[in-house]
Amino acid sequence: MRINCPCCGERSLDEFVYYGDADLRRPDPQDEEAGAKFIAYVYERTNPSGFHRELWYHGLGCRTWIVAERDTRTHEIYATCRAVDGGAPEGAAADRERS
């Protein structure tokens, strides 16, 4: 697999560290539901067969956290962007292939 780092360009897999689902948002610890929400945040996964938005860390490169949109059946990567940009790749393939 080759991942297109928004800063460095396309790089081979072994420069990256995988983290997982990029759509999880850390809950507000003040929320009275915080306990349950943190459990869902840390432990529950959609684990889809198909379109997946996921976090990668370019550890052996520029140390940027990246959101990649990838098909877990084919490993095709549709788009990537820096995680600080809220994880919404420009021209996001988000709607494409969501089926």
Binding site: M1, R2, E10, S12, V42, L55, R63, W65, A83
Partner: protein, 1001 residues
């Protein structure tokens, strides 16, 4: 003729003068099973053996039947040998792919006592007992006999060749290559594709498993552009080699297709030589990243399935032509040709041209096209149309063929060669590595690629285009397209002229009536009966068939057997071949040496070594080193006269506690943290408070994972208003940096925080012990006041040492002694450790390593990796008090889950043996004093232990159920794997100077 004649043949008597394209002017010698033979450069071991009339080459896996040479390529299931000897021995090597070199040594395998007489060949008499999967049905009683009797016997018979019993002496290499167009296969289609792509100026890599490009061009008598095809191929190869941006990789097999248009290829750099040249690898692994790929891997001929079709002398027709046309070797003197397709017809002329007799042409088809009939009559051979070869005679190689004619008449044809052709299977394995399913093409009666990996196109025979003309045209066109799609300008595809050829086929999957075993998979001895049995027992799904009969599981990966077996199963289930299914190919296309996949990373170079700044000096001191991750750290510094490591460590600890000890702590992770929001950031990362930390001070901090478990600990110093230096444990440096970057980029992107790893920047030495300040005084420039008033415990600041060298000074203590850590730019580390050691002489100080450090940290009850093991909370480790309740921090919410607040959880305690002579070891479990030694009474374990020279007995840290409440209690320390079971007293984890007077001074 009699089968014994072979052994009487004079040297190379099957070589045909004037034929073939190899250099017969030079003669080289080689040995097979100890006997010396002659061959020529350019031969394969197989062609050389055939030239010398050697037909019996190996024995089959299960029945140990005599086997010869079936093919002329990497699909060979039978002719497997042990190549080379000693630590270079290569088992299961295909004689058909081994390039002959002078002095080559090969021997047959999987036979005893000899190839000609193999005791285990009696297995074939028990053929119907050793039917597919028989072993699942027996060897069960009594149970104990499996390991004791049955399995040892089976394992003695198992395997083919023998692996070398010593380390591989050769080296391996890996390369990453990028290109616009990768052409896989150097046959006509591949050559045309590469020429096209090159003409468009593309960066081209063309790879072929043979030593020369050309493929079937070298094996057939054909013409391209009025040139003999072999000559055309030679020109094409020269053209490519002389074109910029074209890399020709011969002896290179593309074995796998991976995601991201990445292709794995193996180059056999030196396998054609006795040993690799100096500084050259034996083989080289290529990772090729290609924008576009043209797959031109050709096709593999199918055997015919008839009785005793495995005897030496039964060969694929295409292989016979290869041996004649390329190597000038005729594999027999009296040949029968048995086929179901037009392509095989050309075999007749080739055999005749080689001066051998074609005793008959047997075709399972009743009607042939006029053109083909014309060829037959011109050749003047006895053509048996609508007939079958039912069986063969002979033992160690064939002496005749039993043929049934269309009208049922049985004829026995004496012959020493049967050239058979069941049609051709496109080599589409690489097209299916990414899970694509091929589809069935009725016209050529074979599977062809359908969906393809991104960026791949398939040319020529690999795509079912079996004629030379189609191969050249499709290759030329796809090469152009590939180059264009890769961003090169569009150019015109040139066309090639060839002589016409016929190519129709009427599939025959198995001969209707046969005598004797009819083999489908030669190497694993899978016969038609086995396929029938698998069907009968319900193993009709293709994967069931393979797994139950082991069909296609051999070193040939079923290249010659899979489709025949599928077809036979389809007939049995009365369904179509595609309905039965296809077997998805997995990498590698052909087997790859494990050494090549490992590459250069072996022995000492398995992983890079990370060296601390004092490494060179420590080596000179004769320090013993230990691995800490990739780091090599001094474990202890033995001195002359010291009996064992223990004595050394006692001395290091004792000296440190009573005078001063010096230790390289540069391996601790260091992260520079800056920014207006740095404090806020640290507050969210650490469980304790940071707002109150003054500039010029350091503080111990603990960070958790989001699930509430302790991630790491260390001190962080405030160097400026918005500038901090964080230290991590040696092992967690990278992990913590990743965690901080995650928090900064993914959780709180708006914070103004900048992170920089600076571990390598600083050589940092700890000076611990009552004399540490005196020692420090000797190197710190006089203008800096390091009195306790000016530089108290946990102070941090910049100083200058040795006359103006800027350094960072921290007053931290891991040992519990008055201690300082001095940090200088790494390049000065070596000089500084030498300076310190000289300066320390007057205090009789010492250097100490990780062992002594471990002892002292346990004496102080400080935490190590064994305590912060990923399953312990701050509460568990006695850090609950540190947790601020006035802020949120990573891990706070989930850290308070009921299960983690359970008072019954094991928590940190100290342990000391009741009997001071007793030893406690880490890993021992803790149970109530008198409790029965079972899991039910297990209450925790010892995490760290060491002998304390100061206290004169072993001390240990442990995690004990309700530990802190049980101080004073006596518990059992149970260590069955070390055969120990003693009693220990539960104490506070701080064994030494609990009040901390010494470290504050």
């Amino acid at each position: 003729m009699s089968e014994r004649d072979a052994s009487k043949e004079a040297s190379q008597s099957f070589r045909v003068p004037g034929m073939g394209s190899i250099d017969t002017t030079r003669t080289i010698t080689f040995t097979f099973d100890g006997r010396i033979y002659e061959g020529h450069p350019g031969d394969t071991l197989a062609s050389a053996l055939l030239a010398n009339g050697v037909r019996l080459v190996g024995r089959s896996f299960k029945y140990h039947r005599p086997r010869g040479i079936l093919s002329a390529g990497s699909e060979e299931p039978n002719a497997l040998v042990e190549l080379r000897t000693g630590n270079r021995r290569e088992p299961n090597t295909k004689a058909t792919t081994v390039e002959l070199y002078d002095g080559l040594e090969a021997s047959s395998q999987n036979r005893w006592p000899s190839l000609a007489f193999d005791v285990l060949s009696i297995n074939q008499l028990a053929g119907s007992v050793l039917s597919a999967g028989f072993y699942y049905k027996t060897f069960m009683w009594p149970a104990a006999f499996w390991e004791k009797l049955y399995e040892p016997v089976i394992r003695r018979a198992a395997g083919l060749g023998r692996a070398a019993s010593e380390a591989d002496p050769d080296s391996y290499d890996k390369v990453t290559a990028h290109c616009d167009v990768l052409v896989i296969g150097g046959g006509p289609a591949g050559l045309a594709a590469a020429l096209s792509a090159a003409s468009a100026g593309a960066r081209v890599i063309i790879a072929d498993e043979n030593p020369e490009l050309g493929g079937r061009c070298l094996a057939e008598k054909r013409t391209i552009d009025e040139m003999p095809s072999a000559v055309w191929a030679k020109h094409a190869q020269e053209k490519l080699r002389s074109t910029n941006e074209v890399r020709v990789l011969t002896r290179t097999t593309v074995f796998g297709v991976y995601d991201g248009r990445t292709y794995g290829a193996l180059e056999r750099v030196s396998d054609h030589l006795p040993v690799p040249p100096q500084h050259q690898p034996r083989q080289r692994l290529w990772r090729i990243i290609a924008k576009r790929v043209v797959l031109a891997s050709g096709a593999t001929e199918r055997p015919m399935v008839f009785g005793e079709n495995d005897r030496p002398g039964v060969m694929l027709a295409g292989a016979v032509r290869t041996y004649i046309n390329r190597f000038g070797v005729v594999p027999g003197r009296h040949a029968a040709v048995f086929a179901n397709n037009d392509d095989a017809i050309t075999t007749i002329a080739d055999i005749q041209r080689a001066g051998a007799e074609v005793v008959a042409y047997v075709d399972s088809r009743k009607e042939l096209s006029p053109a083909v009939l014309a060829v037959l009559s011109e050749a003047g051979v006895d053509a048996i149309l609508g007939g079958h070869v039912e069986s063969t005679t002979g033992t160690r190689h064939i002496t005749g063929a039993t043929v049934r004619t269309a009208d049922g008449e049985i004829r026995n044809l004496p012959c020493d060669l049967i050239a058979m052709s069941g049609g051709w299977n496109p080599n589409l394995q690489l097209a299916t590595h990414l899970n694509a399913r091929p589809h069935w093409n009725e016209t050529i009666a074979a599977f062809v690629p359908s969906a393809l990996p991104p960026g791949m196109a398939v040319a020529g025979a690999a795509n079912g285009l079996l004629t030379l003309a189609e191969a050249l045209a499709s290759g030329a066109q796809l090469g152009i397209e590939a180059a264009h799609e890769a961003g090169r300008p569009a150019v015109e595809a040139r066309s090639y002229s060839t002589t016409p050829e016929a190519s129709s086929i009427a599939p025959l999957w198995r001969v209707p009536e046969t005598k004797g075993k009819a083999f489908v998979d030669f190497q694993h001895d899978v016969t038609t009966d086995d396929v029938v049995l698998a069907h009968r027992e319900g193993f009709a799904a293709v994967e069931h068939l393979k797994r139950y009969t082991t069909l296609g599981m051999g070193t040939d990966q079923g290249k010659t057997s899979n489709v025949n077996a599928l077809a036979i199963m389809a007939a049995l289930t009365e369904s179509t071949i595609p309905a039965v299914g296809t077997t998805t190919a997995r990498p590698p296309y052909t087997p790859v040496a494990i050494g090549a996949l490992g590459g250069a990373h072996r022995g000492r170079d398995f992983k890079p070594e990370r060296l601390p700044p004092s490494y060179k000096w420590a080596r000179e001191q004769g320090a013993v080193f230990t691995q800490a991750g990739l780091w090599l750290r001094p474990q202890y510094f033995p001195r002359p006269g010291e009996r064992d490591w223990q004595e050394t460590v006692f001395r290091e600890v004792d000296t440190t506690r009573n005078a001063v000890g010096i230790c390289d702590v540069s391996t601790l992770g260091k992260i520079d943290v800056q920014g207006r929001d740095a404090i806020k950031f640290l507050e969210s990362i650490y469980i304790n408070n940071w707002g109150s930390l003054a500039v010029g001070r350091a503080r111990y901090g603990v960070m958790l994972r989001e699930d509430g478990m302790v991630l790491d600990d260390g001190t962080t110093a405030r160097l400026g208003e918005h500038h901090f230096l964080m230290t991590t444990t040696t092992g967690n440096a990278a992990k913590v940096l990743q965690h901080l970057e995650f928090c900064r980029q993914c959780l709180w992107p708006d914070l103004d925080v900048q992170l920089a790893p600076v571990t390598d920047q600083w050589a940092q030495f700890s000076m611990a012990g009552p004399k540490s300040r005196d020692l420090l005084r000797k190197i710190v420039d006089s203008e800096f006041d390091i009195s306790d008033a000016a530089f108290p415990y946990m102070a941090a600041g910049e100083v200058a040492i040795c006359g103006g060298l800027k350094a960072r000074l921290f007053r931290l203590s891991f040992s519990g002694e008055r201690a300082y850590e001095i940090a200088v730019p790494s390049r000065y580390g070596d000089a500084l450790i030498r300076r310190l050691m000289t300066a320390t002489e007057e205090f009789d100080g010492t250097a100490y390593g990780t062992e002594a450090m471990g002892v002292m940290r346990i004496e102080k009850g400080h935490l190590g990796a064994a305590e912060m093991n990923g399953t312990t909370t701050a509460y568990d480790l006695g850090l609950g008090r540190m947790m601020s309740d006035r802020k949120d921090f990573i891990g706070r919410t989930l850290g308070s889950r009921s299960g983690l607040m359970d008072p019954d959880r094991p928590r940190l305690v100290g342990l000391r043996p009741i009997n001071p002579k007793h030893k406690i070891s880490a890993g021992a479990h803790l149970l109530p004093q008198k409790a029965h030694r079972t899991a039910a009474n297990d209450e925790g374990h010892v995490t760290s232990a060491a002998f304390s020279p100061i206290l004169g007995h072993t001390i240990a840290l442990g995690l004990l159920k309700r530990g802190p409440e049980r101080v004073g209690e006596i518990v059992g320390v149970c260590d069955p794997v070390r055969g120990r079971d003693i009693l220990a007293k539960v104490v506070s984890p701080e064994f030494f100077d609990p009040s901390g007077e010494k470290l504050r001074g």
